[in-house]
């Protein structure tokens, strides 16, 4: 079979010749070609190998439903598998290849599977790996692991590139009054009518050209249409697929910006992922022509009828010289006429016994005739046909192409996304959209209207509905009726073959045959959803666009039910595949999530900090001297803090300003410990519980005035605590006169810790006398100013257990504060310390952080029970001792030492009893560090029953992830200076 590029046909630009390669051979096409049309024009017939049986496949359609011409486009990092050649626009230098074949689609070793096909029937995987009877050989997952690799290699689609995607993708947003999806006659009529009424219209079309099925008409001019629409003010978005309709008439759409260009554009994204918020949606998505299941209906050269009309009139390609058309409906007669006029010999097989059509004498029409089996191996040699009344008596017709039309299926997918069940229309043998309660109208053949004039009329009615959404005048018009053929369609889903196994394909992409559907039924899979999963019908990347209805009809026959009784499967977004790159947009690499830096970020880096991510924050991790490792560095920093002084950026702590006459009342209600009598100028450490009595967060609150507090929260819970306070004040305690404001970004903070910290501060503040032990005792708060007059806040507070302070300053002055502090600290041989040292210092003291307060821990578990007031009620007070929360064997906070002081352990280690190392053990280690002061590794964590129960008992720290075990003992979590003498110094 050679196909002809026909003069005077098509909407391609013959002035512009485009070179491209297919399976490493060079070919030529024209501007306006699809890859599929260019391959057909070059007489490339085999373009793919099927999923399971490796059968040769050719181009089977002209659109997104394509199940044969799935190819790989591009190479290297831009290799894109499973591209539908029918929708890929041709460009100069396009490089495409066949897939699922070795060495190539023309000659494929995997083709042997075709002859082993009885082993690959429905449920093959499930059965095979249940064990092979009679010996149940190979039962279990072990053998599956071996075979899976081989099978996956043999059965499959294209291979994705394993390199990072070099292209960029964008997320974009838009709004409009009315969104029209589809630019066929109905969509165009609707869009134009609405635009004429001065509403803002966006028209989305998945194709590069407007027109929908009009593109298959000889005299249709898509370029003129485009100009007309734009001049009526319609915002036209070609190459854009509406892949899903979501709540509130929001549409997700994928725009292919540069997929049709030879080289990636330097300033354009490859694709845009659109979120379009419309007030009304008009779905004019059209209908898809169905094929017919009969033996060998998948040979290259088998195609839907309307596709051949598209190839002729859009691309100027006549797909066959000697064409047999098999049908059960009227839609093929115009195509037959045009194919004949273009020079093909045309034979029509119509399954009906009487049709009324004005047909040229040169077209053979066989009524009451069915396609039985296509002959040929890699190409079509002929077709065996038979009468509807006698399947055993066959005639052979010589031909080089078989076109099929088993009826049309309205594209109800988008409406189905809204949970609207389609209803079966028996007269037209198709599902049409059900009743819609939202502002969505369906028009044209998507509604089951076949006649072009009626499609246009339905567009006006849809426009009318849309305008009614805006309260505009509604005319008294209603939709034309469904259908529109002069001779009624008759059911023709399958022509049963007496061959076994049958090769009557229902779902081409997954090689599901009619026999597979019957097998599934015999084996008890009678629900459509089970059928789908067992046979994988409708689960390939066309998502059943071609095979679903035929599958349903076969199931209905088996169950002796009607199609609507059997049901339909629900369509879910996306309508066509959406690349992960487009979903991700710009949120890749460094931009995967937002980056937060503190006001002294640059200062930290300038002073040698290695940074670490904590949540979204970049925080100093450690400040290595020359050649120091992380471990060297944090041990030195920890040692210096305990010996002299260290300075640490603590800006990432949450900070909340609490102001108003009821500020004290609020603070007192949310913390477990009493705040009602906290004097002005004092701070207090506090614990917050959740309603259910579990610890939410810890932090400090400083009383700055009669009606004003400054609250700090942990870094991790900053946002949560802020929202929580807002929730309480706006929903529960609406009578409290108090306002909360997040000031986390407004204040920069540094901790100054160590025996020399007071000396350092003295040199930095305006009035050194303020910093004395008497004037600023432990937990004292001071609003003062720096030496240079900049206002600042100082609190005497200690996370390290040493004499220590925190100093806060308006963010813009952070560098100045750090310069002052650091200049002074250096005089005392002080250091800058990072998060690692901060962690070491707090673990030595047994202070908890988010690693311990993980949402399972009560205040008693954390050893802070004495902070729970018994004299007042607060959030969580009623629940904190409920049932299990007051059990004796709860996991309690303890410290851990290795028995052998040379051994190290990791956070996550499971604590087990000796000789009973299994499961979750009796506890867990949550934080570890080397303690310079103690000279060995230490940890804190939890153990059932706490210190009292396990004191002097050797336990096992099990680390199954690292395949490690060591002997450990339980100690008090307060491993250094348990009386706290240092911080009161």
């Amino acid at each position: 079979m050679t196909s002809l590029r026909k003069e005077n046909y098509g909407k391609i630009n013959r002035e512009k010749v485009l070179g491209f390669s297919w399976d490493n051979k060079e070919y030529f096409g024209y501007e306006g070609d699809s890859l599929a049309s260019a391959l057909l024009a070059n007489d490339v017939r085999i373009v793919g190998r099927s999923f399971k049986y490796h059968r040769p496949r050719g181009v089977m359609s002209c659109g997104v439903e394509e199940s044969g011409a799935l190819v790989t486009v591009g190479s290297g990092s831009r290799r894109d598998p499973n591209v539908r050649a029918t929708t890929q626009e041709l460009y100069s230098g396009l490089n495409a290849s066949g897939q699922n074949a070795f060495p190539n689609v023309n000659f494929d070793f995997g083709g042997v599977n075709n002859y082993l096909s009885r082993f690959f029937a429905a449920g093959f995987y499930y059965k095979t790996f249940m064990g092979l009877p009679p010996f149940e050989w190979g039962k279990g997952t072990g053998i599956w692991m071996v075979f899976e690799k081989i099978i996956r290699k043999a059965a499959g689609m294209g291979k994705a590139s394993k390199e990072p995607d070099p292209d960029s993708y964008e997320h974009a947003n838009d709004f409009c009054d009315v969104l029209v999806i589809g630019s066929g006659p109905a969509g165009i009529a609707a869009a134009q009518e609405i635009a004429n009424n001065k509403l803002d219209v966006i028209l989305i079309e998945q194709d590069s050209l407007l027109g929908g099925n009009s593109l298959s008409q000889k005299d249709f001019d898509p370029y003129l249409l485009n100009t007309q629409l734009k001049s009526s003010g319609i915002r036209v978005m070609p190459r854009t697929t509406a892949f899903g309709i979501y709540d509130n008439t929001v549409v997700g759409a994928l725009e292919r910006v540069t997929d049709h260009l030879p080289t990636p554009h330097s300033s354009l994204p490859r694709q845009r992922f659109w979120t379009i918020r419309a007030k009304h949606i008009i779905v004019a998505s059209g209908a898809l022509e169905r094929h017919i299941a009969f033996n060998n209906n998948d040979l290259p050269g088998a195609m839907t009828v309307n596709a051949s009309k598209h190839y002729l009139n859009r691309y100027g390609v006549l797909t066959g010289n000697n064409i047999v058309i098999s049908t059960n409906n009227d839609s093929v007669y115009q195509t037959a006429k045009e194919l004949h006029e273009a020079g093909s010999k045309v034979t029509i097989l119509d399954s009906r016994d009487n049709v009324n059509h004005d047909l040229s004498k040169d077209i053979d029409l066989h009524l009451n005739t069915l396609p039985f089996s296509i002959n040929g191996r890699k190409k079509i040699d002929g077709i065996d046909v038979c009468k509807t009344t006698d399947l055993s008596n066959k005639n052979t017709i010589i031909c080089d192409q078989v076109l099929m039309s088993g009826g049309w299926s309205p594209i109800v997918n988008l409406v189905s996304h809204r949970g609207i069940k389609p209803t079966w229309n028996q007269e037209n043998l198709c599902f049409i959209p059900g009743q819609i309660k939202e502002n969505i109208s369906v028009v044209g053949s998507a509604k089951g209207i076949w006649d072009e004039k009626n499609c246009i009329e339905s567009g006006f009615v849809g426009a009318n509905e849309a305008m009614n959404t805006f309260g505009m005048h509604k005319k008294e018009i209603s939709f034309p009726s469904v259908g529109g053929w002069s001779n009624p369609i008759e059911p023709l889903f399958e022509v049963k073959s007496n061959k076994f196994p049958s090769k009557s394909f229902v779902d081409f992409q997954h090689d599901v045959t009619a026999e597979d559907v019957r097998l599934a039924h015999r084996e008890g899979f009678i629900s459509v959803e089970h059928l789908k999963r067992y046979t994988t019908l409708g689960m390939a990347n066309d998502q059943g666009k071609m095979g679903n209805i035929i599958g349903l009809s076969l199931m209905a026959e088996q169950l002796d039910k009607t199609i609507p009784q059997v049901g339909t499967t629900v369509f879910r977004p996306p309508y066509t595949p959406v690349p992960i790159g487009a979903l991700t947009g710009r949120n890749v690499g460094k931009h995967f999530r937002p980056l937060r830096v503190t006001p002294m970020h640059q200062w930290n880096i300038d002073h040698g900090a290695k940074m670490i991510e904590v949540g979204l924050y970049q925080r100093p991790w450690y400040y290595p001297k020359k050649n120091e490792t992380l471990s060297d560095s944090y041990i030195r920093e920890t040692t210096i803090v305990r010996k002299t002084v260290g300075i640490c950026d603590v800006t990432s702590l949450g900070k909340i300003a609490i102001q108003g006459p009821d500020a004290t009342e609020l603070v007192n209600r949310i913390y477990t410990n009493p705040f009602a009598k906290l004097p002005i100028g004092k701070a207090r450490y506090g614990i917050m519980l959740r309603d259910d009595g579990i610890v939410m967060d810890d932090g400090t609150s400083w009383r700055l005035g009669e009606n004003e507090y400054f609250m700090t929260t942990s870094t991790a819970a900053a946002a949560k605590v802020m929202s929580w306070l807002e929730e309480l004040l706006q929903t529960r305690w609406t009578d409290l006169k108090v306002n909360v404001t997040s000031v986390s970004e407004q204040w920069a903070g540094a901790a100054i810790a160590g025996p020399k910290s007071r000396d350092v501060l003295n040199e930095c503040v305006f009035d050194a006398s303020e910093i004395t032990n008497d004037n600023l005792p432990f937990m004292g708060v001071l609003q003062t100013k720096l030496k240079d007059g900049t206002p600042c806040r100082v609190v005497r507070i200690s996370f390290s257990g040493e004499l220590a302070y925190e100093m806060y300053i308006e963010s813009d002055y952070a560098h100045g504060m750090m310069d002052l502090l650091w200049e002074s600290a250096q005089k005392y041989d002080g250091c800058l310390y990072g998060l690692e040292a901060l962690g070491a210092l707090r673990v030595e003291k047994g202070h908890v952080t988010a690693a311990e307060l993980d949402g399972r821990v009560t205040i008693d578990d954390a050893g802070l029970g004495k902070m729970a007031s018994t004299k007042k009620s607060y959030i969580g007070s009623a629940m904190r001792k409920r049932g299990v929360l007051s059990a004796d064997d709860r996991d309690m906070l303890v410290g851990f030492f290795p028995i052998n002081e040379k051994e190290t352990f990791n956070a996550g280690t499971i604590v087990c009893e000796k000789n009973n190392i299994k499961g979750q053990g009796v506890g867990r280690i949550t934080s570890v560090t080397h303690s310079p002061e103690l000279g060995h590794w230490i940890g804190i964590g939890f153990v059932k029953g706490g210190l009292e129960k396990w004191k002097d008992i050797t336990l096992i720290g099990a680390d199954p992830v690292r395949n490690k075990q060591m002997e450990i003992k339980v100690v008090s979590p307060h491993m250094i200076d348990p009386e706290g003498k240092r911080m009161y110094a």
Binding site: D247, V250, R669, T731, R732, S873, Y874, A878
Partner: protein, 94 residues
């Protein structure tokens, strides 16, 4: 996508908001017995149909809103500020 008409900011995508929970829960007094709190916290209706629920306009005006939403269709019947005084002000505004 759920779109919520914030009485202060206007109609916005749900991604700007954080879901709170059942807005019809009456939380007991802080000194109420554990049995009452248990009821309020753990014994919740799983409503099929219109539900009053709270949403926080986290990436907006930070108001906590009471939204009447159908858990079946996501249809939103009404939106108002939870705080009665704020509700009065925003109501007059719109």
């Amino acid at each position: 996508m759920i779109r919520i008409k914030c009485p202060y900011c206007g109609e916005r995508d749900h991604s700007e908001f954080t879901y709170g929970g059942d807005a019809s829960i009456k939380y007991p007094a802080l000194d109420a017995p554990a049995s009452e709190w248990t009821k309020a916290i753990f014994f919740r209706e799983n409503i099929r149909g219109m539900q009053k629920e709270t949403w926080h306009h986290t990436n907006g005006c930070r108001l906590w809103l009471e939204v009447e939403r159908s858990t079946i269709t996501h249809e939103i019947k009404s939106v108002k500020a939870c705080h009665p005084q704020i509700e009065k002000i925003t109501k007059n505004k719109s």
